[in-house]
């Protein structure tokens, strides 16, 4: 059914005021939307967002996503010492000594190394040289000479102190120079390589990287996974499967005469130098402790203060006002600021974090509890009084049962949110998992350790969320938990 024009005219004539009001009312949200849009446009320019997004470092996102879930074998021939080493993740701790642990794709002969990088890429290198063979068969010979790094007989010179230009060794610079693109066109260097007097660098794909500088030849190959997650590279258990480890743990012959085998296996895992499971566990525990202790103290101190701030318990107006303002003050100063003050007084550690949480949440919980106490139903108290109960019995049986659900559910709710805040407070200096995370991230290396920390943090946060949600429902009933 549709309305004709005549009908609408008649309607607007009869109910003009109503329609006008409704049109005005519908304009308000549109106006607000326009203001919001204008604000976003203003901030786009105020923060210069276009430029920041334009300058986003794509290479870094590649590094991030690769290094978080991959590990690399780093093969290095040092020019100065003329020696060769294989490490995992470039960490000295993980150096592979001897010959039996050398991966099958690496062959060593006469202090020269041949590395099969997979997919037909092969690198052959030694003291001051590297021959890289691409899958199409073309060979690139990189040498370190008196004139710097050279590739396939070409060397580089710096022009105008700014650009690198290239020419054959021994040729006169005046005879003509090539730039990097032209060099790649001629097939002298691979497409996408970088070449300068001090270095030659080329990454054929995501999983391989070659680098030659005056002091070292470096070949890296990436593999998916977290290497040495269970046992460190120096551990005799490194690289064993679950079954083998089980066999070791249950066998009669002790590896370490001091320890039972299962203890030995556990300690090898626990003190893995690469992943530091023990430190991670302690850091997680610190964060949990911060949240738990802080919330407990806040609830324990907040409840009696809440009674004192409630009008139906404390008849002194001045005292109530003073307490209310104290609650506002404690709440108003942010947790981070409290934690900064406490760091000065108590040093770094979980105690500092838990004090900061306790201070802010005493304010919040005290206020909530005092409101709950003021809102109780007086009939229950009167009923208890009519049985001849004393003051303590009145509170025990008349008041406490009424505020207990609020007390439990609010305390648990704040416990949940405090686990998240404890991570943040920790990151700002109080310690725990937050600090470890920030340190690992700001040094910009070992992204897989960062990822491990993040995954553990998320697991703890989500588990605590679910656990306390479950407890809250269990203790207060589903209805109360919803509110």
């Amino acid at each position: 059914m549709s309305i004709s024009t005549a009908d609408t005219d008649r309607l607007s004539a009869t109910f003009g005021d109503v329609l006008k009001a409704s049109r005005r009312a519908s304009l308000l949200p549109l106006g607000m939307l326009a203001v919001a849009l204008l604000y976003l446009v203003y901030t786009w320019f105020a923060f210069d967002m276009g430029k920041v997004f334009g300058a986003a470092d794509a290479e870094r996102s590649v590094i991030l996503s690769r290094d978080s879930f991959h590990y690399k074998y780093q093969l290095e021939h040092s020019q100065r010492r003329n020696d060769f080493s294989i490490t995992v993740e470039g960490n000295r701790e993980t150096e592979i000594a001897g010959t039996e642990n050398v991966p099958a794709w690496v062959t060593r002969q006469n202090n020269e190394t041949r590395v099969d990088l997979g997919d037909g890429h092969v690198a052959h290198f030694g003291n001051g040289f590297m021959d890289y063979t691409a899958p199409d068969g073309s060979v690139y010979q990189v040498r370190t000479t008196e004139e710097g790094v050279t590739v396939n007989g070409y060397r580089s010179i710096l022009v105008d102190d700014r650009y690198y230009r290239f020419l054959p060794i021994g040729a006169d610079p005046a005879a003509g120079l090539l730039n990097l693109e032209e060099l790649a066109e001629l097939g002298i260097i691979p497409q996408g390589a970088s070449f300068a007097t001090t270095k030659f660098e080329y990454a054929p794909d995501f999983y391989k990287r070659l680098r030659v500088t005056r002091s070292q030849v470096l070949v890296e190959r990436y593999f998916f996974g977290w290497e040495f997650f269970w046992f460190g590279p120096k551990s005799p258990l490194a690289g064993m499967g679950l079954g083998e480890v089980w066999e070791v743990a249950t066998s009669d012959q002790r590896i370490d005469p001091e320890l039972a085998n299962y203890e030995y296996v556990f300690l090898q895992f626990w003190r893995n130098p690469d992943w530091q499971h023990n430190e991670m566990f302690i850091a997680l525990l610190e964060t949990l402790l911060m949240a738990l202790l802080g919330t407990f103290v806040a609830a324990g101190v907040g409840l009696p203060l809440g009674f004192l701030a409630a009008a139906n318990f404390n008849p002194f107006f001045a005292g109530r006002m003073a307490l209310r303002r104290l609650f506002d003050f404690l709440r108003g100063i942010d947790q981070i600021i409290w934690s900064l003050i406490f760091i000065r007084a108590f040093g770094l550690g979980p105690l500092t974090g838990s004090m900061a949480i306790a201070f802010t949440d005493t304010g919040t919980l005290g206020k909530l509890f005092s409101e709950a106490i003021e809102n109780i139903d007086n009939k229950q108290v009167e009923g208890v009084r009519s049985t001849g109960a004393g003051a303590i019995q009145r509170y025990r049986f008349g008041v406490i049962p009424q505020i207990l659900p609020v007390f439990v559910s609010q305390t648990l709710y704040y416990l949940e949110s405090n686990i998240r805040s404890a991570t943040v407070i920790g990151a700002l200096g109080a310690g725990g998992i937050g600090l470890k995370l920030v340190q690992a991230m700001q040094t910009h290396k070992d992204w897989e350790n960062v990822m491990y920390l993040i995954i553990m943090t998320l697991i703890v946060v989500i588990a605590m969320d679910m656990g306390s949600g479950w407890l809250r429902r269990k203790l207060t009933g589903a209805e109360a938990a919803k509110a």
Binding site: R60, F296, L351, V424, L428, V461
Partner: protein, 285 residues
């Protein structure tokens, strides 16, 4: 319990048994709490680099130092003006994050409410998405983005937006599920399309609640943006960090005053608007 009525004696034994059990649980709970409390305190005190009891004596030293330095400073009020742009930056970070986050939250909320006739398989997906965005600490995301985009307010803004979308989305979807379905049915009877039903049947019911939740979130986001400044996201947090590491007492107190006043003012304004919007105060669940 059996069908036959219990004798008074049996009832009494049964009752006192249950009473004993309950008392036992209460005692166990209290005992466990005390153990956690004192044990936790002991462990925390042990792990801390400075002790609790030594620290207690020094507790007021730092605030005292700051106050003395602020009083001795030549132009303390001038510092307030100097740091005002940094404050504006932080407020803007929170503003953008709240606006964009609320918009995303609205989309997520409409996708996760069962009563609005949305494509059903979308509901659990949207809910899980909200769970994940809520669980992810802002700080971690901000650090990642700072690595990718460089140190500027924008990574922090994106991180806060991400968290806001999940946190508000959950609240919004609860609002959506509690609406009165009669206007929707009325609109359906006139042959309104889905969009028209949402626009005229749902939005008028939920917008006041949306706005008040978003305002509450705005307050929270100001604090969050200030905190993220500490890891290099600019704004007042970054100034704070610099001032603290230089030990500049007057600057610290000026920044602290600015932040405190802002939080209180925005708290007051938003609670007034919220009262007008929904009539009566309400708690953020």
């Amino acid at each position: 319990m059996s069908d036959q009525a219990l004798s008074i004696g049996e009832l009494q034994t049964h009752f006192s048994e249950m009473e004993h059990k309950r008392r036992l649980y209460t005692a166990l709970f209290l005992g466990a709490s005390l153990v956690v409390f004192f044990g936790g305190f002991y462990i925390a005190d042990d792990l801390n680099s400075g002790g609790f009891w030594q620290g207690l004596a020094k507790f007021f030293d730092y605030p005292y130092e700051i106050v003395v330095e602020s009083i001795e400073a030549d132009r303390w009020a001038g510092l307030l003006v100097d740091y005002f742009p940094a404050l504006i930056e932080t407020v803007n970070m929170a503003g953008v994050a709240t606006l964009v986050g609320a918009l995303l939250a609205m989309i997520l909320a409409f996708c996760s409410s069962r009563n609005l006739g949305i494509f059903a398989p979308l509901v659990p997906i949207a809910r899980r998405a909200m769970d994940i965005t809520r669980a992810f600490p802002e700080l971690i995301l901000a650090l990642f983005l700072i690595f990718l985009l460089g140190a500027s307010p924008i990574p922090a803004m994106i991180a806060v937006t991400f968290h806001t979308a999940g946190a508000l989305g959950k609240l919004f979807s609860e609002v959506n599920e509690n609406i009165d379905s009669k206007p929707l049915e009325g609109l359906q009877a006139t042959g309104a399309t889905w969009l028209q039903r949402m626009r005229f049947g749902v939005l008028p019911q939920v917008l006041p609640n949306y706005c008040s939740y978003a305002l509450l979130r705005f307050e929270i986001n100001i604090r969050a943006s200030a905190i993220l400044g500490f890891v290099g996201a600019g704004g007042i947090g970054q100034e704070f960090k610099t001032a603290i590491s230089w030990g500049a007492g007057a600057d610290i107190s000026a920044l602290f005053t600015l932040l405190f006043i802002t939080i209180v003012v925005i708290d007051q304004i938003s609670s007034r608007i919220r009262r007008n919007l929904v009539g009566g105060t309400f708690q953020m669940a």
